[in-house]
Amino acid sequence: MTETSSQPVPQKAKANLFQQLELDMRLLGMIGAFIILCIGFNIVTDGRFLTPRNLFNLSIQTVSVAIMACGMVFIIVMRHIDLSVGALLATTSAVMAMTQTELLPNVLGMGLNHPATWAITLIVGLAVGTLIGAFHGWMVGYLTIPAFIVTLGGFLVWRNVAWYMTDGQTIGPLDSTFLIFGGTNGTLGTTVSLLFGLAATAIAVWALWSGRRSKAAHGFPVKPVWAETTLAGIVGIAIMGYVLIVNSYSIPTRRLERMFEARGETMPEGLVVGYGIPISVLILILVAVTLTVVARKTRFGRYIFATGGNPDAAELSGINTRMMTVKIFALMGFLCALSAVVASARLANHSNDIGTLDELRVIAAAVIGGTALSGGIGTIYGAILGALIMQALQSGMAMVGVDAPFQNIVVGTVLVLAVYIDIVYRKRLGAK
């Protein structure tokens, strides 16, 4: 290896543009599909789809399913499945609703909207979710009951535990601080969003650069500089583009007036305030980045993929696959609870049907995102894109005025089609 780091390796020079960028073709395909979808809907709806308002709403509607889809990737990569995530979301949502409206204010006498309510609620909810998930994982890993059965049972149990806890009633209004996790009720504001966008871009560029440097330090082949720069540019444009869009969606004047009234002030005439990045989207980004690092850069993540690729080999390599199973289901439970926070805060109450059919949306998002049900293959960003594509389809069709039954028919068809395209693509590559 005598090439300097800035020079393309000979055999790479002959490769085509995409190969030089070393981008996942599947990822490009999904981004392409999403863009086509957005432009298509935008044309059909006379430009109502690609508005800051709609894109803002699209992102906060996607968050709940996307957070769970991240966990589902790990579950499916390890050759398991979780059919209980929607029900688990309902139970943890019910637990948190009861904690903040009943247990803390009335039973413990803290009163409504106590400053500590949101934090205690969050801790209780996340702990319950994690525990239930770990319990599922224990049954799958140590009692060797198939995950399909454990979570099918869990689906019935937790959906109805939620019902029983709340008597089937809608619980609300929720704690006022708790609502900031929902989306419209909690955003970073334009300035902080802008700073966040710049910081995120800087971190992304640094990550690309340090990855390249560490490859070069060992004398491994690296991408040509222009490819690296292009990639950094695309990432930067995507991040800053989103920030500018959510910044340009301004808070409706009436709502702004009420916010000023609540603080006992009067709103200056003609004031325009942009929303900025929703806190819930921030949570999703945090989850996605953390889990991507876990998947790629930790032993735990490596073992998840190894176990999915060949469970026997993983076992023979001294990996405790049973304990791994407990951990990934516990993580799934934690993420369900986090999704419950976002979902109930967005609706500002806990309703009995919260999270209904989410298990199917979550699995579909992961699968559309390229997670193979046979195990061993899957990415976090793919699952998030999958969730985004599904949500775009759904809300786009709603805007166009497609009848509800047809909406689900289309989503179902797209799911099957996406998996078929994936199979064809993999066969072409010669991979399994």
Partner: protein
């Protein structure tokens, strides 16, 4: 060099030193069927012991007890004369026992270096896996084992049988194994790669590593091994010095279950 090697072997065994590995009276049964029935085998440093027998004779099962994949029902394992407990693959690795399984036991979706270090990843000071360092190590050992190997960034499912085998071998020899178990290492290989494995076995012997070689092929065993233990129906037929027997002797042990010199009825 050759002479010295031979001397090492003889001094390893018969010098009064305890064997590297001694498996005594090992029994294991599955659902009432005795897969291995009171079998004892031993192995000295720098020695290759062949384990022969039909399919289902119990040789793979016996060896999986040593590699920690199965737990024995009865018997004991001694390493350097000291009793050890091997309850899982981690214990085996802790005792410097490495195994090359017949199935290779590779995670097909991961690349060569991830497989090489699976369960023993190199980490950065922050506790994250250090892929670059592992790939560098992987390139180093592959340069010795299989200089033609170039596919370091592809999943091992994209490799040929011989390349996959060299990844599995690299994994076994990289971590300073003292005891190496090879379960039909040449079953899926072409003549060239088979020769590569044979050369490697000689190399490892010279380093004083003890090798259990499981094989169907009598000729391979005659060529590579110092001693052979033959099993039939879960029981040990006998252990012989390769120098004292012919191919036919071994075959009759495998097929008839008789030691040479015993009368056949």
């Amino acid at each position: 060099m050759q002479a010295q090697e031979t001397q090492n072997q003889t001094s390893g065994r018969g010098s009064g030193q305890p064997p590297l590995v001694e498996m005594r009276d090992i029994s294991i049964s599955f659902g009432g069927i005795k897969a291995v029935d009171r079998v004892s085998v031993d192995l000295y440093p720098g020695e290759v012991v062949g384990l022969l027998g039909h399919n289902g004779a119990g040789k793979s099962t016996l060896i999986k007890v040593l590699s920690g994949a199965y737990q024995k029902d009865h018997g004991e394992i001694l390493i350097d004369g000291k009793k050890v407990e091997i309850n899982n693959p981690r214990d085996a690795r802790a005792n410097n026992i490495e195994t090359i399984y017949q199935t290779l036991a590779l995670a097909d979706n991961l690349d060569a270096s991830s497989n090489l270090f699976l369960g023993r990843e190199m980490v950065t000071p922050f506790g994250l896996v250090n892929d670059a360092a592992m790939e560098a190590e992987c390139r180093k050992i592959m340069a010795q084992l299989n200089p033609n190997f170039q596919k370091f960034n592809d999943p091992v499912s994209a490799l040929s049988g011989g390349q996959r085998q060299s990844v599995a071998i690299a994994r076994a020899v990289y971590f300073n194994a003292r005891i190496l178990i090879m379960d039909e290492p040449t079953a899926a290989l072409g003549p060239h790669e088979t020769q590569m494995v044979a050369d490697l076995i000689q190399q490892l012997k010279a380093q004083g590593i003890g090798i259990f070689l499981i094989d169907h092929d009598v000729h391979a065993v005659m060529e590579l091994c110092d001693r052979a233990s033959v099993m039939k129906n879960g029981q040990l037929v006998g252990t012989v010095d390769i120098a004292d027997v012919t191919d036919d002797d071994l075959l009759s042990m495998i097929i008839l279950g008789k030691k040479p010199g015993e009368k056949t009825e």
